[in-house]
């Protein structure tokens, strides 16, 4: 055996060693010097599951839950696991066609990826849930997951409560550092929005390990890095849900609003904005459709008319004018003014007054005499000591400001409007440097540039009832577990009107307002046994129709409080285009007051009144036209769709026996052969929107 081969054994060992060194070198590279693999492993395997706490529940002043959480179910799917299922039977089960199925799957894969969970259908209806629950085992990859959904057992207070919705990108941008992520829900309007922080609670995070197909394998590090979810806090409102519901019933088929305040606390007892909608329509899987329906309704049901719409206050403003006039000393309670049918002070013959005669202050309030208050307003602005209307108006405005006009009151609802209290600078612009009181005389009767929200008007009533002080009107009375974010502090601060106003002046105004109800303009709305003070308002208004400005039916206003000695409710009502204040707003307000103070309407006359006003249809003419137009367009569209579908079906089943019957039936929504989807849509929209008996039925039921 050749000796030289001996050292080849060593060479072979060296080769072994070198190769092992190369391997060790690569291991050093991978394990010691590359950070990216560790990150990649975490990205692979770590699954952060956000645990959503239950949102807080909202209770009314008597502890009734106005809003609750219920469980709803989402149908979710992991596309990679759902391959090869019986698509045909699945589509049948889901009542969709195969194209729709493919489209949804594509969307899910695009949005969340092939191996992660995506939502196939959110918020299943109970029937669909029942149907799926029985059959889900046949379709691997599909699953039903729970989700907490808002529900509204009283079907009421939609505007106040607001709604929650899935956050969008703009929301995420605005709330960058608050930990929201795509797919979260957040309060978008109403209390849900204002008290989002309180109601939301704290989200928890659980870390899981997941496998290559996104299946959870167990907790990560035994939950060392997990945080627990903290449930949202419950909220107690000043709102009286019964009163709210009663108000909504009264405002059925009217456009307007009711705001009632507890003068002692500033708590809002009810805030009705008509037309309203059932808040339950904006939960559930038909949400999108309902939302669009509501959005394009000509009556603008999303608008909260209690705080979001400017109204000329009309004659209710006379209370302020009177108080300022009395305080400034331009009149006293015994000052008399004679009205020959119009205001003579400015020589224009305007404004007109309805009741001719001579009035003292109390009678002027009771009969809402335009001349009287025009005189008071003119005298106030023309006072010598202020050297001109400019500074006199500034003084007038400083009074009005302390009554909460011309600025946001600071209610705990989003989108409150300011109202307008025009300044002298504004008038200088319009009328020039030398404007004078007659230029703005319509403000004396609340018809000029002054505008208020209904909430401000209700607050003025509360101030008058309290003789000069108020708490900022607010929805929320208390938060369970403490007011951690100091959101309620502002509502515990007492605000006073101008200190120069003595109680005697408020007494005089209250005398006048009591007379309004006892024998004045709103005598019909007197509640036997309750001393109510009120003031009617009738507001002329105009609208642009086909490019022309046309005078519309007057807005009906009423502001009131009761009982006079120990006021428990201050209320303001607007009924758009319903005529004089005494015709619609005053009776509605009186019914509300009686309902609140006595819990029910007892006397037969009052019951008849309730019946009458619940049924009255006072939808403004313009809106009625717009709605009819919309409905007919919708119907035409729907019947055309239906016709097409029917023609297709008829062609498909040309040989079938029922061929004749299909051809024979007219293309109307009532057709039994009509596709279920369409009929459902029609009934749904009828149920929420159309001013037919259906809505009545829902309320009286």
């Amino acid at each position: 055996m050749p000796a030289f081969n001996q050292n080849r054994g060593k060479i072979i060992q060296i080769i072994f060693g070198v190769v092992f060194l190369v391997i060790a070198g690569q291991l050093i590279n991978l394990q010691l010097f590359s950070v990216k693999y560790k990150l990649a492993a975490e990205n692979n395997a770590l699954f952060r599951k956000v645990i959503y706490p239950d949102r807080g529940i909202i209770f009314d002043r008597k502890g009734k839950a106005v809003l609750e959480n219920t469980i709803s179910y989402d149908l979710v799917v992991i596309p990679s696991e759902a391959r090869g299922i019986d698509t045909l039977s699945f589509c049948k089960l889901m009542d969709i066609d195969k194209d729709e199925y493919k489209k949804r799957m594509r969307d899910i894969i695009f949005r969340t990826g092939y191996v992660r969970i995506g939502v196939f259908e959110a918020l299943l209806s109970p029937e669909m849930y029942a149907r799926l629950n029985e059959n889900i085992y046949k379709y691997p990859g599909f699953n039903l997951t729970e989700r907490s959904v808002r529900s509204y057992p009283y079907h009421t207070a939609a505007h106040v409560l607001g709604y929650i919705a899935e956050v969008d990108t703009s929301f995420l941008r605005r709330h960058k550092d608050e930990g929201y992520q795509m797919g979260d829900y957040a309060g978008y309007t109403g209390l849900e929005r204002t008290y989002e922080k309180v109601l939301m609670g704290e989200r928890g995070v659980k870390n899981y390990i997941r496998d290559n197909r996104s299946r959870i394998q167990g907790s990560y590090e035994n939950g060392l890095y997990d945080t627990a979810a903290v449930a949202g806090k419950n909220i107690h409102l000043a709102l009286d849900v019964e009163l709210q519901k009663f108000g909504e019933q009264l405002m059925t088929n009217k456009v307007g609003s009711i705001v009632a305040i507890d003068p002692q606390t500033g708590g809002i007892l009810c805030m009705v904005s008509a037309p309203t909608y059932d808040p339950n329509y904006l939960t559930g899987n038909q949400r999108g459709r309902h939302y669009v329906d509501l959005l394009f309704d000509p009556r603008k049901p999303f608008n909260n008319r209690g705080i979001g719409t400017y109204y000329s206050p009309g004659s209710t403003f006379k209370t302020i004018v009177g108080i300022v006039g009395l305080t400034e000393g331009v009149i006293d309670e015994r000052t008399t003014v004679t009205c020959p049918g119009y205001f003579t002070g400015c020589g224009t013959g305007k404004p007109k007054c309805l009741d001719k005669g001579t009035f003292q202050f109390k009678e002027a309030v009771a009969h809402s005499d335009n001349t009287y208050f025009s005189t008071v307003f003119k005298r106030t602005l023309d006072q010598q000591r202020y050297h001109g209307a400019d500074s006199a108006l500034t003084v007038f405005n400083s009074y009005a400001t302390t009554f909460g006009l011309g600025h946001k009151l600071g209610i705990d609802l989003p989108a409150e409007q300011r109202g307008i209290l025009p300044t002298s600078a504004y008038y200088r612009k319009i009328f020039g440097q030398n404007w004078y009181s007659c230029n703005i005389i319509s403000n004396a009767i609340g018809q000029g540039e002054v505008t208020t929200t209904l909430l401000q008007l209700a607050n003025v009533m509360a101030i008058i009832s309290n003789k000069g002080w108020f708490y900022t009107p607010h929805m929320v009375d208390s938060i369970e577990g403490g007011d951690e974010f100091n959101m309620l502090d502002a509502f515990h601060e007492k605000h006073y009107t101008d200190k120069r106003i003595p109680d005697s002046i408020f007494d005089a105004v209250q005398d006048g307002m009591q007379a309004v109800v006892d024998y004045g303009t709103a005598a019909r709305s007197r509640i036997p046994g309750i001393v109510m003070c009120g003031k009617t308002g009738t507001v002329e208004n105009y609208a642009r129709v086909n490019g022309r400005v046309e005078k519309q039916q007057d807005h009906s206003f009423f502001g009131a409080f009761a009982p006079r000695d120990k006021p428990r409710i201050a209320i303001a009502v607007i009924c758009e285009n319903a005529g004089q204040g005494a015709w619609a707003a005053a009776p509605i307000a009186s019914l509300m007051v009686e309902k609140y103070l006595r819990d029910s309407i007892t006397s037969p006359e009052r019951k008849a009144m309730l019946e009458e006003f619940s049924k009255k249809n006072l939808i403004p003419k313009l809106m009625r036209i717009a709605m009819e137009k919309r409905d007919s367009v919708k119907q035409a569209k729907e019947s055309r769709l239906l016709e097409q579908k029917m023609l297709k079906e008829a062609a498909d089943s040309a040989d079938a026996e029922e061929n004749n019957t299909i051809d024979g039936t007219p293309a109307t929504p009532e057709t039994p052969a009509a596709p279920e989807k369409n009929t459902r849509k029609i009934t749904a929209s009828v149920a929420i929107l159309n001013n037919t008996e259906k809505k009545q039925k829902r309320h009286t039921a």
């Binding site: 072979i12 092992f20 391997i23 050093i28 010691l32 492993a41 496998d211």
Partner: protein, 445 residues
């Protein structure tokens, strides 16, 4: 009493200990891969339903087989070497008839009880024996080309059959015999040539064809320029250089593309290309054209390597801890209990663990080389070298592929990977060697 003496007499206990340690590590690794928090591991270990308990059973079977081997007579192996080789080749041929398709390779013969036999694995032993037998013949003069060719033929035949069974990895293993042959006097040039050829093939994959051709031409011109004086005297050298140049360019231009397009399967070509970060166009592959109707060619995917490297890389210095590797628990690495078993170790015990593990392997290899060198008979030495090189080749290729140094070919990690055939093969390989070593004073032919 007597028996136990004859067994233990002269047996190298170091190798047996290393063997036992490695098999235990293997079962542990498989346990790490299969473990689930919600199962009672003791029970599953005993029921035989999970892979690790199966591996435990295999280990038991292997112990019995090892004992039997140690009880046999060394002369048996020399006597039956050629017969067993023939039997092995026959088995491999039989696979084409009886074979069962597992993971795309038709190299398994189904046995009773749900177990499958892979003749190509066993054939390694028989080839090692046959090669040892041939080289230890007194008539054999290994310095002659004829003997070298015959030795090569012994090693290549099962390799060719393996390729036909779509087991590229197993076929590559047979190149390990080059190491044993090298020890017996195979000219070093062949090893040098072989590795140069490998470099050329890899360069072909990595570089643009024209760039590589230019580079080869430049190198050739440079060599001619440097050796211009010798070339004047020796015209044959010029012919040789030109010949090598023609061969190199021919290889990268025609041979390699031909192999990738016509010899290898589409998935193999794709794997090899993806290793060097390139896409392989399966439409060029002749074999995939035939099957185009069955299944559309999948996109090139380096998922396996990526996940395997993530698993090992995430281990860091000290690892993520026993049963705490998320890559392993999440089953991100495919075939982790067999070919990618090293990843579970790398993730759980990190660089430190890997280093210890590699040292155990290296110690085993050096020990076998030491055993080989202390043999008196050529048969035992050749056989021991074959064992060392086979084990080495498996380790090198398997670990290299998990850490991204080598294309993915399906060969197991010796004694660690799950699989009865593999474990049995290595057990038999090692214990035959130990048996021969026990009789190292004898001259076996």
């Amino acid at each position: 009493m007597n028996k136990s003496n004859t067994i233990s007499q002269g047996v190298d206990w170091v190798v047996i200990w290393l063997y036992a340690i490695l098999v235990s590590i293997g079962i542990l690794c498989i346990f790490m891969v299969e473990y689930r928090t919600d199962t009672d591991w003791l029970q599953t270990f005993l029921t035989g339903k999970t892979n690790y308990s199966k591996q435990l059973i295999f280990a038991g079977v292997c112990t019995i087989v090892a004992t039997f081997i140690l009880l046999t007579d060394s002369k048996l192996f020399t006597a039956f070497a050629n017969l067993m080789y023939a039997f092995g080749i026959l088995l491999m041929l039989a696979t084409f008839v009886l074979g069962k398709n597992i993971n795309g390779s038709k190299s398994w013969i189904p046995l009773a009880g749900g177990f499958n036999l892979q003749p190509a694995e066993l054939c390694k032993i028989f080839t090692a024996l046959a090669l040892a037998k041939y080289l230890s013949r007194q008539e054999t003069d290994f310095s002659k080309l004829r003997s070298q060719l015959i030795a090569a033929l012994i090693a290549v035949s099962p390799a060719v059959l393996s390729i036909l069974q779509h087991e590229l990895g197993l076929a590559l293993v047979y190149s390990a015999f080059l190491v044993a042959m090298y020890r017996e006097g195979l000219p070093a040039q062949i090893l040098v040539f072989g590795s140069s050829f490998a470099v050329l093939v890899i360069a072909t994959l990595v570089l643009e064809p024209n760039v590589l051709a230019l580079a080869i031409t430049l190198i050739a011109v440079l060599i001619i320029f440097l050796l211009r004086k010798q070339l004047k005297k020796n015209k044959r050298l010029l012919v040789l250089i030109v010949g090598i140049w023609v061969f190199s360019v021919g290889t990268q231009r025609f041979l390699v593309p031909y192999i990738f397009n016509n010899v290898l399967e589409c998935y193999q070509s794709t794997r090899i290309y993806s290793m060097v970060g390139k896409e392989y166009d399966c439409s060029k592959n002749k074999k995939s054209e035939k099957k185009a109707g069955e299944k559309a060619a999948r996109k090139p995917d380096d998922y396996n390597v990526r996940q395997s490297m993530i698993a090992i890389g995430s281990g860091g210095l000290s690892g993520r801890g026993f049963l705490k590797g998320t890559q392993t628990r999440g089953k991100y690495v495919p075939e982790q209990h067999t070919d990618f078993i090293f990843t579970s170790l790398g993730e759980a015990f990190g660089f430190a663990g890997c280093l210890v593990f590699l040292c155990i392997y290296l110690f085993l290899l050096f020990r076998i080389v030491k055993i080989a060198e202390r043999q008196r008979s050529t048969f035992s030495r050749v056989y021991a070298y074959s064992v060392a090189s086979i084990i080495f080749f498996h380790i090198a290729v398997n670990i290299s592929m998990t850490i991204g140094l080598f294309p993915i070919v399906g060969i197991p990690l010796p004694l660690i990977s799950y699989g009865g055939s593999s474990l049995l093969t290595f057990t038999v390989l090692i214990f035959i060697m130990l048996r021969l070593d026990a009789d190292r004073q004898m001259v076996l032919r």
